[in-house]
Structure formats: C-alpha cells, structure tokens
Subunit: 396 residues, 2 copies
C-alpha cells in the first residue's frame, strides 16, 4: 500500500470495547483529520452559500466536491487550470471527490437527484443517461444537453485534475428496485470498472491522492459479502459502502451495513456514501463507519431548518410562526457566533422576506452543529459515554 499512498495513512488510536466504534487519524497531503468525521458537500466546488473559510471557522475539517457536476460545468480541464478544487475554493484542508457514478445513475432513472433540484429546468422525467456499456456511461449535460462519456479511466482522470486528497473508483449505482440478477451482473461490472479505475490510478499515481474502492451488491447479503471480498483484495486506500443501502433505517444498518462491516479491511478508513443524519452518525460510528457525507446540513438550511442538539427530529423549523417575535438566540447551547448572535425571530423574518442571508446563517449554523456532534462523538467514544451522548442529541 505504501507505494501507492506514500502521503496517506490511517492510524487507529482507540477502539471502543463495546462496539466497532473507533478513533483514528486519517492523514492526507492537505492535512490530517480525526475520525469519525463528517464530510460536507460542496457540490459544484461551492458549499452553496458560504466560503470554505467560513466552513472551516464552523469547524469543518473536510469537504467533498462532485466530479459529475464539475465535469459538466466548467469541465475538468478548466478546474485544473483554475488550480483544482483547492485553488478554486481557497480550501486548504483535505478534500474528497466522488467518481460521478452516483449522479449519472440517479438521473438515469429519470428521477431528479436532489442535489440539483431547483436548478434543473428541463422535464424531470427526461432521461439524462443515454447508454451504459462495459466501456462506461454516456449521458447528457443537464445544462445544455451536450453529450459526455464517463469511463473508469475518464473519471480517474477528471478526479486527478480536480485534485482532491481522497478519490473514488467509478461504479454502477443501480436503483433499489432492480432484481437480484441485475444486481449481481451490475456488481460484477462495477468490480471490473474498479479494477480499471485502479489501473488508471496506478498509471498516474504521484502520492497526492488516495483511492477508495466501493462495496456494491444492493440489499443482498451474499452479493455484499462477495463485494467486500473483492474490495478487500485490492490495494485501495479506503473502503466505501455504496449503492442501494435499503429503504428503512433498519434495513440499512441491521442488514446491509451489518453484512459489510465484518468483511472490510479493518485497517482502512470506511466511508458511508451519502448518508448523514444525526441518527445515522450514532448508528454508523458504532458499526465502525469512519466518515459520513450528506447534503442535509446545507440543504435543509435552504428550507429554513436549523439543526439542533436535543431537538425533536434533530431540527427546528424557523419558518414556523411561533418564532415570529422570539428574541432568543438561534441556538443558545452552541458556541458559534451565528448561533449566539442571531435570534430565532430574526431568522424567521429573513426567511419570510426571502433574504438569502437566512440560508447563509442556517447553513453555517448547521455545519457548526454537525462538527460539534462529531467532536462530541469522538470524545464520548474515548470516554465510553456514547450511549449517554446519544440520549442528549436524539429526542423523539
């Protein structure tokens, strides 16, 4: 491994005796983060309405950008010319990119992936995925309809140009409802694509990036185990649990994640793709998940929600009229300038007035809340107080 990843490492420092939870240091060329940690989504090389510096000030240690979106606009070559995702955003810490696969296949089903909801002007039923072959996937730009092809090789090439510290193999992400036969064939093709991704990665490896393999197999236990075996057998830096994880919390954790976790390499960081409510964090860390990513913290901010420790359903709806004349701070329990300075009544007013400042304040507050959660989770794993912490954060 050290040949491929001379500047990356994953050092486990503490293991919870009561669960698979663990504390580790994940080292990358742009810095080291402590895990478990949360990877915020800066989809198009922008954390929507805050600068990366503001995210850092809110405690964020790492964020990701989406290869798919950047390939479509402005294009990987321009990203490279602009200094990569680090150069564009001014972010100096670790970054991650996905392979682009998830978005292509999410759109391929004729559904609008939530990531770009509100941006897409065309018929949401229009299929953007034109063709999937052994070679790769052909898709149309959601901006102007122009045609793109994404292959394992071109995804790695694009991710190299974007320049994140942690990158991904291209995989096929079939939707939940497809049958076991399709899933098995799809998983096999994903494995071939992952091998090609790895070969392309090796061809250009310069120590700046660490490659994650992805476990596929849908909601089928034998497929998940086979996929874990495949991923374990190859020199990936990290492991990601991807594809269809299930439709209920129980299915995700009691089945899919449970099947995978005993079968992935213990000495590699494990990322759970695209999931990250507070409840997910508590469930996931106990099962050994090291990193989470989800658009939730910034997306719900755009709809007027503030995440809060100990709040039913994890969040407050500041659009609610009961906050109209409430002069108390957004979140008096949280030590962040925004949470302390702005009142619930002011946020309610900004939302009612369609002021973009509402989204900015709530997005930063929500990132501050999730980074606080992760800090407290790490501390409680070390202290053996994770159960108690969960009761403080999650309230029915």
């Amino acid at each position: 491994m050290s040949d491929l990843y001379p500047n990356h490492s994953f050092d486990i420092e503490f293991k919870d005796p009561k669960s698979r939870a663990r504390i580790a240091k994940l080292k990358t060329p742009h810095g080291t983060i402590e895990t478990p940690n949360y990877i915020f989504c800066g989809t198009k090389a922008a954390l929507r309405c805050m600068t990366s510096k503001q995210a850092a000030e809110a405690g964020a240690d790492i964020h990701l950008v989406n290869t798919y979106h950047l390939v479509v606009q402005p294009g990987a070559d321009i990203v490279e010319k602009l200094g990569g995702a680090h150069g564009m955003t001014g972010w100096t810490g670790p970054m991650m990119t996905d392979s682009g696969g998830f978005q292509i296949f999410a759109f391929g089903e004729g559904t609008v992936a939530d990531e770009i909801k509100g941006r897409r002007k065309q018929n949401p039923k229009e299929k953007l995925l034109l063709d999937i072959t052994e070679e790769g996937a052909v898709f149309k730009s959601y901006i102007d309809g122009s045609k793109f092809i994404l292959t394992p090789e071109s995804s790695i090439d694009a991710q190299r140009k974007i320049g994140a510290d942690l990158i991904y193999c291209l995989d096929e992400c079939p939707p939940y409802h497809l049958d076991r036969d399709y899933m098995a064939k799809s998983m096999e093709m994903s494995h071939r694509w992952e091998m090609r991704s790895l070969e392309e990665f090796k061809r250009g490896a310069d120590g700046s990036q660490g490659l994650y393999g992805i476990v596929q197999g849908g909601v089928y236990e034998d497929l998940r185990k086979a996929s874990c075996d495949f991923v374990s057998s190859q020199p990936f830096f990290g492991t990601a649990i991807g594809g269809s994880l299930g439709v209920t919390v129980d299915q995700i954790y009691d089945e899919v994640v449970s099947w995978c976790m005993p079968n992935v390499p213990e000495d590699r960081p494990v990322h759970l793709l695209g999931i990250g409510s507070m409840r997910d964090v508590f469930k996931g860390v106990r099962m050994g998940i090291d990193t989470f990513d989800c658009v939730t913290p910034t997306r719900i901010a755009r709809h007027g929600w503030a995440l809060k420790k100990g709040e039913p359903n994890e969040r407050m709806n500041l659009r609610n009229g009961r906050f109209r004349d409430d002069p108390t701070p957004l979140d008096e329990t949280q030590d962040h300038y925004y949470s302390q300075t702005f009142s619930k009544g002011y946020l309610h007013h900004l939302i009612k007035s369609h002021e973009p400042l509402a989204t900015h304040i709530l997005s930063v507050h929500n990132i501050a809340t999730m980074t606080r959660l992760m800090r407290e989770v790490r501390a409680s794993i070390k202290d053996g107080t994770l159960d108690q912490l969960e009761k403080e954060w999650l309230v029915d």
Copy 2:
C-alpha cells in the same frame, strides 16, 4: 441643537481649499464615522447575503435599513421586540433609517422599485399607493395586500422602534415628470410633514437618534432654494438632498445639487439620498456631500458584476466568457481576502452554476471596494490629490 442631540455631533476637521469637499467626524451613540462615507443598504435588516460582521470586515462603517420594508414585514413592534435593527443584525456601529416615503411613492407610480425587484409576485403595474392626503399615505403591503397608513408621526414612531442612530422626516417623493405646480404644492406639504415629524421626534427624543430634514423641490431652482431655507430654519441634525434630482448626471450635479449646497447649513452633515456610483462619489464630495447611499454595490453583485478601481464603467462582468479559465484573482489590487483568494474563473463558474456563493463573494468584494474608495477619497482630500485619485478610479 444640543438639547435635541446630546449624543450626536458633526465636527468638520478639514476643508478642501479648492472645492466644498470636507473631512468630518460624525458622532452617533453607536460610534463615530469619518466622512465622506458610504452608507450600504441593508433593506430588510439584511445586507442581502452577508452578515453585518462580514460587512464590517469589508470596511463598512455604517449601513441603513428601510423603514417601509420593516413596517410591512415583520412590523415595527416586532423589530423592537427583537432588539431593534441593531439587535436583529448584530451590527454594533452606526445605522440609518429612511422614513419610508421613497418606497411608498416609488410604488405609487405603478413602477416596481428596484429594491424589491425579483421579490414581488404581483402585477408590476398594480398601484400599491392607495391615497395621499394631508394626514399621510395609505398603501397596500406588497406581500399580502393588507393596508397600512404612514404618517409623519407613525414613521417617526416606527423609526424609534427600529432604533437607528440617524433617522428621517417623512416627505412626499413625487416623480420627475410632474409639473412645477404639483412640485410646489408637494414641497409645501413635505415641509408641513417635516414639521410634524420634528414635533413627534421632540416628543419622544431621548438622545439616541439624530433627525434629518429633507430638501425637496424637484428640478426647480426656486423651489430647491425655498426648501433649503425651510430645512435650515429648523433644528434638524442633518440635511438630506431628496426627491427628484434629475435624469442626467449633469442635471443632478450642475443644477439640483449646485443650487442646494450653498444654501444648506454648513455645520450639519449632508446626505445625498439614493445615489452612489464611484462617479457620484467624486462629483458629490467636491460639492460638499458627506454621505451617500445606494443599493448598487450589492445589487450588481447579484447580477455578476464586480466593482473595480480603474475599470471601464467601474465594473467587470464576470458572466463574460473571457473569464472562463482565468486563474487570476478577482481583484489583485485589493487587500481583501475575497478579492485575493477567489479567481475570476471561479467566480465565472459559480455564476454559470447559479451558486449563491457568487453573490456573497461579489457583494462583500463590492462593499470592500467602495469602502476602499471612500478611504482613499478622504486621504486624497487631505493631501490635495483628489483630482489624481479620480483619474485612477474612473476610466472611460
């Protein structure tokens, strides 16, 4: 004057021997600003997409909020309950409010005041101004059609609840195209409204606010002079040049402002209402204008424009395809984190991607640019180099 304004003062520290330009200290209960200065528009108690702290970090010394907008949503009583405009926004420096008159009459003409363009959903031809009488103005909310009445007394009352340091008399703001007879009658009514504003102000004066009188009279020299005489005769803290100033730059400065400035009290601060391009600043300060306000810096940011020293037409259009792969900083001449960190190419990408971060970055950059302009203007007045500075900033 000192009875009414024990905590306000305006001390002229330097006069340009070649023009009416002057350097002064304008003291308010929330701090002292040096003039000439620029008052940024935080219309609905929000500088659109930045916090007031970010505005302060970009050099802003003072900003205003609009009484009209806050009366309509959330209402002056709620603003008061939320700690006034200072309490809501977390701004600790001096603030100004207008009387609400401008917006009512701008909408009264059936035109959409640009301030809320993009927010109004109803027919732009719909008249929101229902009636003007000696008592005041009756108007409909642009949000839900509910009826409001604004009188000189209710405007002062609302401004007291909002709690800005510098506030305004209610005046009528008739549009440019009305004839001299209407203008004369309107001016007379404005003067009666200003007297009523002053009486209401005196009734509740507690030393926290300074009241500006407004010079009306449209584009008629004798009316402007009569209005200056009226305003000078009353114990206002400051003087504002308001109403229809003309339709060309020449008419504004060579006529209206020229007629007024020799006839307003020299020892009071003079504010030019609603005007503030870089060119306006250079023209205005030479004629003795102490403060400017305009929505331009933040409004043009929303359309992808960056203000820049020495740029033709004062600004760059970052939507332009020539910036697509330009890795140079947004403005290498400006010592602000945003101007230095983000490239023109990144801004172009954010604009093309409809990322709200573009507006945030450009708004902050534009405020930083205007505060830099004002700092350099003040320094050059003292140095006698204002002509040279104008050549550096304004390029055809």
